[in-house]
Symmetry: D3
Subunit: 276 residues, 6 copies
């Protein structure tokens, strides 16, 4: 019920549509075949159940045996899964399964690299809403698999008061007051700040998470000292694999990284088919 089947069916329909004419023309019906998914580079696995589901949607009879689990670090050459089933259906599912799996492994692997960089600090790596339209649920899952945690899923399940909201409300305190009166009591209020003065204002107004937007490391350190445990501090902007460690060392709790989802490269994975 989480929408994954809809993503898969949509992707299969996008690719197959009125029929895989090559296979219909060339491959005899009911031909059985073996297949293997192979990692062609080292990666953190994410999405193996999604790949399995692609083939199950096409044919519940397909056998799919994963050899690793999501979150496992797989070496180059690693056998990810073994399959057996109808040749035509394995050929039809191959590209969709790989397109989803390679992307999810890419996100998990990149997230894991960020998480490693901040090891030993209190900082946690979180994602953003800069995800692929239609695939957010899968990409946010892959971030968790890679060791990150999720920021809000969308505009509906978290409050993030940005510069324009503040301007529209007429100030930080008023914006927070309005949010408090409106939103579920189960949500924390987050607000974006660009200066230490704003951090202070947000703190006084009762913000529970304060985003430090594009601040330099010195300013972040000042904010950390100022705020202590009274709110969560989230660093945002200008975060990459080179800068993330020094940002983490400022003592912020949360570092959000758009690149986890908008710039992850697809991992190289192959599907080999073999006649019996």
């Amino acid at each position: 019920m989480t929408g994954v089947d809809r993503i898969i069916e949509n992707a299969l329909f996008e690719d197959i549509h009125t029929g895989d004419i090559t296979t219909l023309a060339v491959v005899p019906q009911s031909r059985q075949i073996h297949a293997r998914l192979i990692a062609k580079e080292e990666m953190v696995l994410a999405g193996i159940e999604v790949a399995a589901r692609v083939f199950a949607v096409l044919d519940p009879q397909t056998s799919f045996t994963p050899c690793f689990r999501d979150g496992d670090r797989v070496p180059c050459g690693g056998l990810l899964a073994e399959m057996a089933g109808d040749a035509a259906l394995l050929l039809q599912g191959e590209r969709v399964a790989l397109n989803l799996l390679q992307r999810m492994c890419g996100v998990a692997t990149l997230t894991a690299r960020y998480v490693e960089r901040v090891a030993g600090t209190r900082a946690r790596i979180v994602d953003t809403r800069k995800t692929t339209p239609g695939l957010r649920v899968l990409e946010k899952y892959a971030v968790r698999v890679g060791g990150g945690i999720n920021h809000r899923t969308g505009l509906y399940d978290g409050v993030l008061i940005k510069e324009n909201h503040i301007a529209a409300a007429g100030g930080i305190a008023e914006a927070i007051r309005r949010a408090r009166a409106y939103i579920p009591h189960t949500l924390k209020i987050e607000i974006e700040t660009e200066t230490i003065a704003q951090v202070e204002e947000a703190l006084v107004a009762g913000a529970e998470i304060i985003m430090l937007d594009n601040m330099d490391v010195a300013a972040m350190r000042t904010a950390v000292e100022l705020v202590g445990e009274r709110a969560l501090l989230e660093a945002s902007g200008g975060v990459n694999l080179d800068t993330v460690r020094s940002i983490a060392e400022t003592g912020v709790s949360i570092i959000s990284v758009g690149a986890l989802t908008h710039s992850a490269r697809a991992m190289d994975i192959s599907m080999l088919l073999e006649e019996y």
Copy 2:
């Protein structure tokens, strides 16, 4: 009717769902605002009408004035479009519009780099089915905007006989014969080959497009000489910005590049909102 509105509505629903609670809580109704889309790096623009459509779907009253057209090369800092409309709706559409536009510009810009590399040769750059599930129609469009051409859209509108199809049919000649008997007369038959012997066999059997799969440059050159104008030759595998020129210089007609869509980096684009 090409499905773009469905992609946009799906993406907006993914992000907004039951409501943008921050904006609902904080921003007064009917507040008018200006916004500008700015390129933060040099790029080939693709998808400006898609971005416009995001805001039109949210609110047909929004004014959206593009300053460049798809296919234009935009300098860093270039103003892509100006908007005016309801503040809440511009805030709600911002992320979806950027997520789509940044990705499409990324594909077009990368495609254009490949196209430039092969300038002066006969080779044309084409895409593959290694696209983002659900977004193929947009990514294939962006490839065209970048100067590439499209390979088949999916399994249904083109024939590509691969190794496993050949094995299932019992040989290249038989596979091509079956395809010819089955498929619309409007389609060319393409077949994958790995050796010069297979190229010859495919040619004799009447293949109209012969894919040279992971061949080295010397083998490709041999294939070009062998085949002449009797079939289109398509190079595939191991193509990157470093290798594409030498591949093109072998004389192949078509070079297919999975990276155009599976590894394009999102271009950096910002939306700035300003009070009147």
Copy 3:
């Protein structure tokens, strides 16, 4: 994009389907008519824009002029809105518009009664997930209009650790630890307790909201004293219009009431049509 149009289109299709045969048979095409929506009892108005939208979906030319706004207290006999448009389309939209509007006004009016009862205390009235399947977004909106606030929208945007979750995790502390490690940092953790000992355990474990499930008023008062400002206390179970005041006077912050949505009676509203 919040799904309201889908609810309306679904409801209209449920009612009209292949056509309103009475109107098709009997009413001449293009006949213009006036109509008025009248409150037949005192109520808090909620959903007037939804009613307007029903007619707009059927015919964008329909004129719909609200005379009150959501949240207004309307006296018996009050004129809610005036309409003019095509007779056939007004007749077709009437029942769907009323079915939605009467239900939403019912929820808002009942919520307002609860809110009045706790006036002067710190307690806020919140809803639950005991909503009408398919209409949650409208019913939660009506709760806000009536002066309540919303609990989580669904299982996806809030954490509520119940008895069975605690048992599965092996204890309160472990359950909270697991939640903290998994969920977005933007969410507070709520846990259900049935005894003061559990309240204490939850507090130590870092729960940010503690539900007092079916506790008596004395126990709630003890919990309030124990917890102070260190967590939000939410009373749940056995809440009705007779008991809510004494519960509020214990000092809890939040009182959740399933009846707001599962037992609200439809308000009596009529649509009168008049020939010109």
Copy 4:
């Protein structure tokens, strides 16, 4: 094919959406659990197969054993069904199953009360189109389970000529003539009347069902004598549990009651989960 699965999937998606984060965080995978559905008050059961289907949609492996059948009168404390299955999935389906079941039992129980009140008369209790948008098929089913019969399902499968239709046609006779010429021969024509004079006019014009709209009991009795067996008489308006008996005793055949669906209170039903 009757749309029930769509209602269930829609309701589950509304509640679970991107995932039940509490359960995902806290409950170990593949944990098996028992559950029981218990009636917390006396009721007429309706919808037990719908509840079963909710869990089957989430997981076809779930075992669900009903202990009563739809239409049975269940005592307070009665065990409605026993279940066993994956803990996470039972927890995820609980609220949706209860929201549907409690509502359907409410409608059936209220209907049964009306049916009892008119026992021994010829009158049959029927529903109206005042149903919950999106749930009409379930509510109309529950009315049948409670011993009522259904009026038309929507505007498309029955003719009900109301005051405004009559005005538009220029009179009762002309309205009925137009309907006769247009509608399937399989449908009876029903017309709304407010006076005995209109009843007579309708009868002469060939109406097969005559609705007595908001008439008092004396007028109804006059209508019954006037019409005899020449048409069905349907009483409508001002019907409640106090008035329904005296209306039935006038001799009308049909009494339509909006309250069956717009004012039925949810029955109190609990789901108890138990570790093995």
Copy 5:
């Protein structure tokens, strides 16, 4: 809300899908053009508003001026409508508009021929459920335009007790009794008979419509005499343009004809496009 737009959008998406590549490649954007719809044979027009809607869905700016109305008899060569609009969009809508319009005119024209044949008798021509899957609402509309009336729309809005139903119930009387107890009071009960004895049995049991299934003309005449005005008689089976008159002359009220929808030939209609 009657599903016509869904049929049109589905048909357009079936034909255009990812784009009309010929037009995209060849036709300049924003080129304006004129077009005319011409009847290439005599016909009863049905569906002109559906054709208009096809172009409106593609582009609300298209001008579409019908020259005849549904139900008009159009001579060979008659100009059905004039259009003006964007060339690419007119080209894209042409085939879908014609496919729908030609079929609907075919049904209306064939229906009109049957209706003419029975002129002067009491018999009315009705359709069946032998319609094109997905297009029933349009084909039933075309039958009405051609002068026929509709039988039930589907299994849900009419009762037709067939041989197998009777066998399952254990006889005609019991089958009718069960139906009476279950179905809305707004529906007449129809039952299929094959002998005069069954007709009598049905009449006694209270059937309101009696289908004479594949009876010869003599038997039908006997049935008419037997039944008089006590029930509607519907002739079914073996009806064609040669036999329909003699069937009508037996005095039956209703003649149902599957051929109206399953064997109607598409009328010949052309769309001519002209440059300005």
Copy 6:
């Protein structure tokens, strides 16, 4: 994933909608029954798996045993398939299964007649886009079963440059040049011609398929001589069972026939149900 299930579900929902009230009222639950599909005239079978799928969608427990395979020529009286299953579900699926199967057999049978007529020539019979909206995938399949081949599926998977495209581009050569630059290299370019001069122009411009639109036989013969093997020639317009042989004897490769799908008569097939 080819959309057939969607067609079936849509057709079932169209017919059954809120329930088959006759069967619900009359037929006991869980009654088992046998059924047979019988050809009432000679035909080429097409769609037997589609018919099977209708019953499988309603109830996976239904047994369905085909006695012939698609493409078989079945004599009048031939037993197409045997079924056993729940009586109510067989009754509910009957009409939809027949509506689809009769139509598909009609298309295949008519196609086979055309194919026989051209036996011994090189000409192949192909379909057009004049298909039933929503059923194209099934009708194009039936054409293949009948021995024909398919033209493009829609506007998206084939290029056909018509008169208006040529006019818009400013000539045949320019139109072909634009198409070549835009379309996938996997597609052949087809262009419509009306004179021998246009055929020559198209050939020079590199058209791979040349449609001879409404040419007489003499002109077609001239075109064949002129073109030889340099392009495929497709005859179109004025093709019927009387003319197709002489057209084929001109030596054209392809003859496209709209009548295959727009004028195929439904084959007569019955479903007989028998009690055990």
